[in-house]
Amino acid sequence: MNNTNWLFSQLKKWVKDGIISGEQAEKIRSRYSKDSKITNFISALLVFGGVLVGLGLILAMASNWQGFSSTIKILIILLFVSGFNYLGYHFYQVPKRRNLSQTFFLMGAFAFGAGVNLVLQTFNISFDTGQELLIWIAGLFLFVKFFELFWVLILANILLTIWIFQTGISWIDIAVYGLLAFFFWKLIFRDKNNPALVFSLIGTSLWLFLLQLRMLALPHAEKDVDIWFILPRLDFGIGDALGFLSLYVSFGVLLSVLAINRVKEWAAYPFSILGIIFVYFTQIPFTFFHNFANEDGFQMPNPGYPIEALPFIAISAFVITISLDGLRSSSKSKKLLSRFFVAISLVNILLPFLSYSNPMAISIFMNLILLFELIAFLYISNITRNWKLFKWSLWLFKFFILLRFFDIFSTLLNQALLFVLGGALLIWGGVFIEKQSKKIFDAGVKGD
């Protein structure tokens, strides 16, 4: 008996036992029925086909049709863009044809991007900082706004992320991204579009990095020029590196707080997983910091410019502000959660001051803080019943132990033995997590 058959047999029992109503059973049945599976399969095929046609169009434009005049080229591309969009509009109004409509709109979105590139190619225009992506994104906005286009919204957020990755990091670029991201967030939250949210959060993390970098360069930049020319002049010290660490930890903590407070129920999963990823993977390199110190003695230069601290102090202050309500709550678990987030935010603000200490002190402190955070995340995921976050925390915890094993024993053990023991630890840990995690998680419920 497969899972669906088992579920359907159970549904009958649950209705009979009065656990759920007949209506609820029907809703569950329709979600897992063959029809629903076929519809999902067709949707996947349609989107895949749409992406292929779109990419094919872009490549066809790129091959540079020397036989056509520029006017003919533009007319052809307008025909493609309008044709696909019209079909999307037509099927949007036909009942049960929304999937087909989404596919045509997606092809229209690709055709529009190809058209923008074709115009640039025809007139030999070379944009330095990806302005063509901005034009592409701008052209998609209204379609997403009016027709709730799931896949086009994802595409727009991927393009926006690519754009911020290749900008010249001017203040104008930073402001434009902020503005566009804000408008697209509104659509993401309206449409509850999880994949677009993930791309948007990745883009935002890049944007925050560039914002802090721009602030770091502020005392050096006489005018708004390419920051990559200024970078070599910066006296980039450990204080600055810790500043970037604080930025990502604060961003990760903010996402975790949003997830745990269930600000948007549907977004709890991407918020919580991306939150722990930002917190964990930015801190883990600093747990080995003493290994980076060279033999001639480690230089511990400037603790960074105060102005570059603005982004992470602002985020941490926001986290503390929204956690204050929890501190006044009568619920013990809410109080505990709020205390944790306030504490971790305060520690995070002070992190750059570690640059006044020495590399070993930084390593020890970062190990302790990461260990504390992982245990806290395990506990938090348990009391908030976030099973996915619990599993992620457990795996990251195990990875942390493995890294510590290699770090500590790499100089003490024979290399072969080190790897054998490391592998055994990994396998044992994997089996243990699979067997025990559910028990630990469920034990948490009884404990509550």
């Binding site: 309008s82 509009y89 529009f112 115009v119 225009i125 052209g139 009016f146 020319f229």
Partner: protein, 216 residues
């Protein structure tokens, strides 16, 4: 629930914006290119330019103008140049410095008459940037009597079937380790680029020529 009239209005608005963006971009590009003075410049093929294939834009090629326009004698510059800072690891670090090069045409072609860090009030001038590449071929022959500039000509897009012809025209250059210099394994052919020079000295590439014939 929106009515079909509203849906149609929304569709037309969104479509209009897309069409406007494409036509506007084409119109702006066309008007901008035609607003400048069209000039033909020889290329310097020693600069090692190669066609580049980008997945979404196809083949493109960025021409470099000849040394008669990029190598500027110090006595032609009107002001004192601001020196660059060069760190121990060889990184040249300074904001780019714009150089406006005034040119005149004589029997030998276009030549430099003067250069300035400020936009000239009169004369036919091109906007360039001080060449920050310390490892460019000019470095070995650089002396305190000259400095080099680089023009942002931009890319010319080439049809795939003409890339072979472009490669023939560019020749093939190799490095001779004995003499520490480049030599031509296959001699390049004379190439030139037609550009539109705008009022602010910026350049827009229009057409590429090899032995006087256009490479589309």
């Amino acid at each position: 629930m929106r009515g079909s009239r509203v849906i149609r209005k929304d569709f037309l608005t969104a479509s209009f914006i897309q069409v406007l963006l494409i036509i506007g971009l084409a119109f702006f590009s066309s008007v901008r290119a035609s607003s400048g003075t069209v000039v033909l410049f020889d290329l310097d093929l020693r600069q090692g330019m190669y066609p580049f294939n980008s997945p979404f834009r196809g083949w493109s090629f960025e021409p470099a103008l000849s040394a008669s326009l990029t190598k500027i004698p110090n006595d032609l510059i009107k002001e004192h140049p601001v020196p660059f800072e060069v760190s121990d690891n060889g990184v040249v670090s300074s904001p780019l410095q714009d150089v406006f090069v005034t040119i005149v045409k004589d029997d030998s072609g276009w030549n430099i008459s003067s250069a300035s860090f400020f936009k000239p009030d009169e004369g036919f001038f091109l906007k360039s940037e001080w060449d920050l590449n310390r490892y460019s071929y000019e470095d070995s022959e650089n002396s305190s009597d000259f400095f080099n500039v680089r023009y942002e000509v931009g890319n010319i897009f080439i049809a795939e079937e003409n890339i072979g012809r472009l490669r023939e025209c560019l020749g093939e250059r190799s490095w001779d380790t004995d003499t520490s210099s480049y030599f031509w394994e296959i001699e390049p052919l004379p190439m030139s680029v037609e550009v539109s020079v705008l009022d602010d000295g910026n350049l827009i590439p229009l057409r590429l020529f090899c032995e006087g014939k256009e490479i589309k």
